[in-house]
Structure formats: C-alpha cells, structure tokens
C-alpha cells in the first residue's frame, strides 16, 4: 500500500472510532508547475506540492465532511473529529448512505506521460516563450502578447471506504495558452490560443501562438451586426462552453431538485438529430478520465442525448438511490477540500460529416460565433434561458466575412439544441467549464442582437 492509501485507510478507521457508521476518505497529492512569460522574459516560475485529505462520514442519514492538510496520526484524527461533528449538525436524509462495493476497475492506459517530469524548468519556460514568439511572428499586427502560460500537473489519488476495496491511480496533464493583442485602427483586439495534452512533448507551441494571433487579427475592424434572427455557427470553443452548461443541467442533483431545464424531460425530444452527446469517463484524451469516480464507482461511457432524445442523466451514488437509477460514475470533486458532487466527466459531442466551410455554406447568410462572454452570468441555470455577449464573423454567401463584436445571442438551451442542424467533422478538446470535446455546430436560427 502506498503512503497515500495508508492515510486514507487510517482516516476511515479514525472516523469509526469517532462515532461514524460509515466513512469514505480521499487523499490527493499533486506536484504542479507553472511558467508565465511576457515580452520574451520569464515573468514567474512556480513549483508546488499539495497534499491533503477529505473525509465524508455518515451517522444514520446524516452526512458530514472534514478536510485538512495535517496528515500525521493526530492530524488525521482531528479531521475525523471535525467530520463527525459536522455530521451531527446535519439533518437526516433518507437517501444518504455510504457507497457500495463495486470492485476496483483497471486504470485506463494513456492517463499519464512519465516523460513530463524529465522536462526541466528551463525547457518548459522555453516552450512558453516559443508560444509567445510564434504569435508575434505570425502577423505584424500582433503588437504584444498579454501573457503566455504553461502549466503541468502530476497527480495521485487514493480512496478508501468502510467495507469497500480502496483504489489509487495517477495522471499527468499539461496545457499552454496565450492571449495575443492585435492593433487595429479603432483599438486593440485580443485573441486566445490554447492546447492541452498529457505531456509537454505533445503540445504544439507554434500552433497555439498562431491561433491566438489569428483570433486577434481577425477581429480588427469589427462592427456591431444588425439585430435579427438568423442561422448561427458556433465554433468548437463556443459549442464546448454551451455543452459545459448542458452538463450541469444533466446532473441528476439539479434535475431532482427541479433546477434544470431538462427535469422531467427523460425520453423527450430535446435536440436536433445531429446533436449526439456522451459522457465518457474513460477516454484517455479527456482530462477527467480515471478508473473510478470520486466515490470509487467505475467510470464509464454514458449516452446522454441520442436520436434527438434525452437518454440519461448523470448520477452519483446519492442521486442514483434517490432517483431509483444506477450511478453512472459521475461523482466528481475538485480536490480534497470539497466533498464529491455530481458532475460530468468528459462531455463528448459526436462529429458529423461536414467541414467548417461546408457548415458556413449551409448557413448561407448568418453569424459565426467565435467567442462568448458572460456565460456564467447570462444563463439562467433553472430555465436555460440565456442572453450572452458574443463576437465573431458575419457569414455572407456561405463564407466567413467581416468581423463582428458587441452583440448578444439569446435563446434557451433546449430551443438551441433543437435547432442544431449539423455538427462539423472536426472536434476539439476544450478545457473551459469542464472537459469537453466539441465540433462546430450549425444552429438553424438564433436571435442575434446588435445595433
């Protein structure tokens, strides 16, 4: 047993001693590095180690959670005391109970790249500098890079629970991004470029820099479009942002509490046939892949929307019990500081037949949206009604034309999904608002308001 697994097992034991009837411990350990560069110089270089324990306990139907960074025997005992005290304050919940033993699944291959650790601080700094240089070299109108960043993490997780076989796994991940600044006649434009991988060797700094430069320069000379309803193409980053929101609406906790636009819609037609969505907790390219979820339930691939119909919600052990369903292995957690909660793992939108050009051709006359702002504030999570700020390009004669800014797109999530006419043939992993793989999407009609 690793030291991590030993801490987890000790916590479960202490919890029993403190009066818990059931307990589940999670120990996370991570080494992370980050480099920020600006103007050809290293702005900051960070190295960090984090290690802590989170403990969930049950007393009857009462649940409590404690966490801490002190992992000595006395420290773990104190965390157990905190968790048990917390449980005593909670009210009883008939569906609250420790998870059941579902066995320890094998770790999917491809979750870690051992060569990541071989990259010295100097080498990862060089990668970040290359990202910045590439953006500056791509177009003379790119006058600066606000910041180019490289980040990597090596994480180990162990869980243990009363009456359940424990498990552990490790992953590596890294990403790089930049915000390029282009100078136009009317002011500055910004453009984001990014890439993510299991290890730095798989990142393409040139491509990341070029993307940021292209996104910034394309916006030069942008204007407000007239207000109207028209066909809209969402680029993969924008499609992914909306799919991230959809993932929250598909969580059985929101559904059971009547806080989702998809509540009571199981089996209904909620999307155009072209929109097919899975939650895949095992795809090696997805950053949220793991052998098991935050409660130890094996990760799996779940069809959520297929044939235009809503096929399943996302469940953890609690919502499964409450909804008389099986857990889909969707207990997630952001680390030892917070207890498990229902969340999507990797949301994967199926690709279609058409390339982006063909989607624009099919749209004919409309708007290509390449960026949205204010998603967290502009969407009502209960109803799915949204109105968000956007920028992008006009679509004229079936091709991308002049840049557009300062407009809003408005609809509600389900209406927009039902209006999906086609999915593009090339998908991309996007890390904003969860881990999502999405192709561009053609929406038949959407309300665009500008001037």
């Amino acid at each position: 047993m690793s030291a991590l697994a030993e801490h987890a097992a000790a916590a479960v034991e202490h919890a029993g001693g403190a009066g818990a009837e059931g307990a589940e411990a999670y120990v996370g350990e991570a080494e992370t590095r980050e480099v920020r560069v600006h103007g050809g110089e290293i702005e900051s270089l960070t190295a960090a180690t984090q290690r802590g324990l989170g403990l969930r306990v049950w007393i009857g139907g009462r649940v409590g959670y404690g966490f801490g960074t002190e992992l000595s025997a006395a420290g773990v005992a104190a965390i157990a005391e905190r968790a048990v005290e917390a449980a005593r304050v909670a009210d009883e919940d008939e569906f609250a109970a420790p998870g059941e033993d579902s066995g320890v699944p094998p770790t999917p291959v491809g979750l870690s790249d051992p060569s990541q650790g071989e990259w010295s601080p100097a080498r990862i700094a060089e990668l970040a500098l290359a990202v910045e240089r590439s953006a500056l070299a791509a177009d003379e109108r790119v006058v600066a890079v606000e910041q180019a960043v490289y980040f990597d993490a090596a994480e180990r997780v162990a869980i243990a629970a009363s009456g359940v076989a424990g498990g552990e796994y490790e992953t590596t991940s890294c990403y790089a991004y930049l915000q390029a600044l282009a100078q136009g006649d009317a002011g500055r434009e910004t453009g984001l470029g990014f890439g993510l991988a299991r290890g730095p060797a798989a990142l393409d700094p040139e491509a990341i820099g070029r993307e940021g430069a292209a996104r910034a320069t394309e916006m030069i000379g942008s204007s407000k479009p007239p207000s109207r309803s028209c066909p809209v193409v969402l680029d993969p980053t924008v499609a992914a942002s909306f799919v991230g929101l959809l993932g929250k609406a598909l969580g059985a906790d929101s559904v059971q509490r009547g806080r989702s636009p998809l509540a009571e819609r199981l089996g209904d037609e909620v999307a155009g046939e072209a929109f097919v969505l899975h939650d895949d907790g095992l795809d090696p390219a997805g950053f949220d892949s793991a052998p098991f979820d935050a409660e130890g339930t094996p990760r799996r691939c779940t069809a959520l929307i297929e044939g235009g119909r809503l096929r399943s919600f996302l469940y953890d052990a609690y919502t499964a019990r409450r909804g008389k369903a099986a857990s889909t292995g969707n207990a997630g957690r952001s680390g030892y500081r917070s207890p498990p909660a229902v969340s999507a793992s990797n949301l994967v939108v199926a690709t279609g037949e058409k390339g982006l050009e063909e989607l624009l051709g099919a749209a004919g006359d409309g708007v290509l949206v390449t960026d949205v702002a204010g998603l967290h504030s502009g969407v009502n999570p209960v109803t799915g009604v949204f109105s968000v700020g956007a920028s992008g390009r006009a679509i004229r004669g079936g091709a991308a034309a002049e840049p557009l800014r300062e407009f809003t797109i408005a609809s509600d999530l389900v209406s927009m999904l039902r209006a999906v006419r086609a999915a593009g043939s090339e998908a991309r992993w996007v890390p904003f608002g969860g881990s999502v793989s999405a192709p561009p999407l053609l929406i038949g009609e959407l309300s665009v308001s500008g001037s």
Binding site: E43, L45, A48, V63, R228, G374, S377
Partner: protein, 464 residues
C-alpha cells in the same frame, strides 16, 4: 497578536529567507497561513453540506530581474519551508544575497466581537432555518428555497528580506439566500447575500431579511416581460450595482494591467475619464466591510486610495512590485487567494462616492430607458475595455416612471464610454459583498455606490 505568532518561529523565517537568496535575487518573502472554516447549507428545508476544514501552508518567492520564482507547500513544517525556499531558488544562478534582520511590526487586526468559532454550530443551523422559513413565507409561489452560511478565519504572517515581519488575523462571515418562484411554466430565481469582515455580531439585526428580499426578487420576475433591445439611458441601482464600476473601471486601475499596456486607463493619469460629478475610492480599511483587512498579503498596511477625483483619474492600485516599477508608494492592494498564489494588485472595497441627486429624480428624468437593480455578474476585457453584464433584476423606465420588470437583459458596452456617460449620481449609498476572480484567484471584495445613470448604453434584450 504579534507578527508570525504560531505560524513560524522568527529563526525559521530567517533561515528560509537566507536559503531563498542563496543563489541571488533582490528580494525574498515567506508568506504563511493557517485557515479554518465551516460552511453549511439548507436545501429543501434540510440542513446539509456541513463541511469543516483546516489547512496550513506557506509560499516562498524570490524576485530577480523581472522574474518571480515561487514555490509553495502544504503544511508549516520548518523543513518543508526550507525545501520550498530551495525550490524557489533552484533556477537562479547568481551570487548569494543577504536578507536584513527581521523587525516585527504589525498593525492591529480588524476587531471581531464574537468569533464565529465560539458560536455553537447548532445556532448557525438555526439561522439557516430562519432564512428558509422567512423566504417561504414571502408568497405561495415560492417553490424552492436554499441558503448557505460560511465562516472563515485566516491567520497570516509575512516575513521578507527587507526585514519586514508582519501578520494579520482575519475573520469573515457570510450568508446567502436563493429563492425559486414558479407560476405554471415560468420559473424565476432571486438571490441576496450579507457578509462582512466581522464575527457573529453581523447577524445581530434582522439577517433573515435577505431571504425575504431574495424571494421578493423571484416573485417580481414572475411578472417580467421581455427586456428592451437597443441604446438607451440606463439607471443602475446602488450597492451591488457597484459591481458595474468594479468590472468596467476597477480592474483597469489595477497597476499590473496598466503596466502591461493592457488597460484602457494606461497613460491617462490626471486626465478626465468621467464627468466632474464622479469621485471614487478603493478603501481596504472600511470597518467591518467584506473587502477589508489590516494589511495586504505582502505586509503593506491597507489604506483609502482616491482613484478618481471630480472626474479626473488620480491613482492606480499597486502591489509591491508594480509600485516599485513606477517609483510610487504602495497602496496595500497586493492580495492573494491563499499561500498557493502570488500576490497581484487587487481591489478591496471599491466604490463611487455618494453624489447629490435624489434617486427618484434620476429616474424621473428618463423618458424611455432601463433600470438595472442587480447583476448576475459580468466580464470585461481589460485591454479593449469591452464588457458584458447579465442583469438579474431589471425594469423598464417609461415616461420617468419604473413601469414593469424585464427578464434576461444584458448590458453591453465599452468601459471608457460608459464611465464618461455617467451623468447622475444618487445621494443614497450602500455597500455589498462580492467574490472577485482574477488570474484564477478569488478574493472577497466590497462594491458600493448610490443610484447612478448612464446616459446611453446598449441593452441586449430578449425582444428580437
């Protein structure tokens, strides 16, 4: 409390700083922290989500040339702190530098009358039950209510190679209520919060009033029609309405953005950026306020900074580095979410000072416009100044009167233009609490103002 108490021994700090400068560097700093907290929630009239945690750790940074070398560890074991210092120094290749002897000097922490840790957890659960009942009693159409309670204590200590040794002991409490109203197929939500850099005394008045206000907002929105679309005068409410100023102007005043040329306010010091009726401050010392602390996270005492005086831009918000780069005084705005992050210039409590107009008169002068009472949040691109805000509670103004509530509006615009277009400021002033995100770090901030009016702004409505 004396600086560093209980977090590290002075001798440990001296060894860590010496180790951090072993390979050179102009400046080294040890920042240590112990944080503990309790959160609980009520949902479906049931107390749940009870979480209790305690963490400690430290960050060591070394500044050399324009580069920051940083390492942080969980835990305060002296050996780990020295190891972190070694890691921070690892990539440096210059000659050893010597830190100055430490000299303890910490201002008194802000007063906390009743530490929440001494109040029984059952009392906090009781408070949430009061919120739940009060919200449900607001109307038969209130379908769901949830509320949360959070308390946190942060003990921090800072030691640096210039001899500074300081510390702070910060306690914050906050409650929030959310209500969902339902009428046939329509569902609307309303939310309200109350928080401060205070102890349980914050709840001495009528804290459950926020639950009633949240329910009131949701019920009002049931009556809401589509929001108007187009350019029109916009009246913004006081208190949390100040988040608009926070986002569209406050971030552009943070000196890191300014120095990178990524702020629309760069090079505008002394220039008119607003009409003469507007004066604004950032004040990290406001007693009891959510964004207040005794020192910032670099050990600089917090202060009241005049940022706009009679419409002229008078100052930026600095941390140690940005102040040094410009040769100006620090303003006590070097803040960090925790020991796991580097300090950067951040707002504390940022507000537009009260004006002279009566709020009723500000609205009465508008023929056709929009009244934004509270925002769901917003985003601004500091480089271009473009921003977008989701309006949570908004109304139509017709013929100088507030006529009906509107659903789903957004405000879209540009900071420089919108700030310059403020043509009325109310004499009614209050503050609200917010959590501000920047560079992946969340810190508590206060926002405030009276009613203000922006002469022309784009409203992105739900009318096509």
């Amino acid at each position: 409390m004396s600086a560093g108490d209980g977090l590290f021994e002075q001798g440990v700090a001296e060894r860590v700083l010496a180790r951090a400068l072993a390979n050179g560097g102009e400046f080294a700093e040890l920042f240590a922290e112990r944080r503990s907290g309790l959160t609980l929630a009520i949902d479906e009239s049931r107390i749940e989500g009870v979480q209790s945690g305690a963490e400690e750790g430290a960050g060591v940074r070394v500044l050399s040339g324009g580069t920051t070398y940083f390492a942080h560890v969980d835990g305060l074991d002296p050996a780990d702190l020295e190891r972190a210092a070694g890691e921070a120094a690892a990539a440096l290749r210059a000659e050893r530098a010597e830190p100055r002897p430490l000299h303890a000097e910490a201002p008194a922490p802000l007063p906390v009358e009743r530490p929440p840790g001494e109040v029984p957890a059952a009392r906090k659960a009781e408070l949430l039950r009061e919120l739940d009942e009060r919200s449900r009693a607001a109307g038969a159409e209130i379908a769901q209510v949830s509320a949360s309670y959070g308390e946190a204590r942060r003990e921090v200590a800072v030691a640096n190679s210039e001899g500074l040794l300081s510390g702070d002991d910060r306690t914050r409490v906050r409650i929030g209520a959310q209500a969902v109203a339902r009428r046939e197929g329509r569902v609307e939500t309303g939310a309200e919060t109350l928080g401060g850099h205070q102890g349980f005394e914050l709840f001495d008045g009528d804290p459950a009033a926020i639950a009633e206000q949240a329910a009131g907002k949701a019920l009002t929105l049931l009556e809401a029609g589509p929001a108007p679309t187009g350019t029109m005068p916009v009246v913004v409410g006081g208190g949390f309405g100040g988040v608009l100023f926070h986002e569209m102007t406050g971030h552009g005043l943070e000196a890191d953005h300014v120095q990178k040329g990524a702020s629309v306010y760069a090079g505008k010091l002394g220039e008119a950026v607003a009409q003469p009726l507007l004066t604004a401050y950032d004040d990290g010392r406001l007693p009891g306020e959510w964004g207040s602390d005794a020192i910032d996270d670099e050990g600089t005492p917090t202060q009241k900074t005049l940022v706009i005086e009679d419409g002229r831009l008078t100052g930026f918000l600095h941390d140690r580095r940005s102040a040094e780069r410009e040769g100006v005084a620090r303003t006590g705005n070097g803040r960090r979410e925790s020991f796991r992050q580097l300090p950067i210039p951040r707002m504390t409590n940022t507000y537009i000072a009260p004006g002279e107009a009566e709020p009723e008169a500000i609205i009465a002068e508008v023929e056709k416009g929009f009244y934004a009472v509270s925002f769901a949040g917003g985003q601004v691109d500091p480089a271009t100044g473009d921003f977008v805000f989701g309006v949570n509670e908004g109304y139509l103004i017709e013929g100088g009167r507030v006529t009906r509530p509107c659903r789903g509006a957004t405000l879209v615009g540009n900071c420089l233009q919108a700030l310059a277009a403020i043509d009325a400021i109310g004499d009614d002033f209050w503050m609200k609490t917010g959590i501000c995100g920047k560079g992946g770090q969340k810190v508590p901030v206060g926002t405030g103002q009276g009613h203000i009016r922006i002469a022309a702004m784009t409203v992105g409505g739900t009318e096509a």
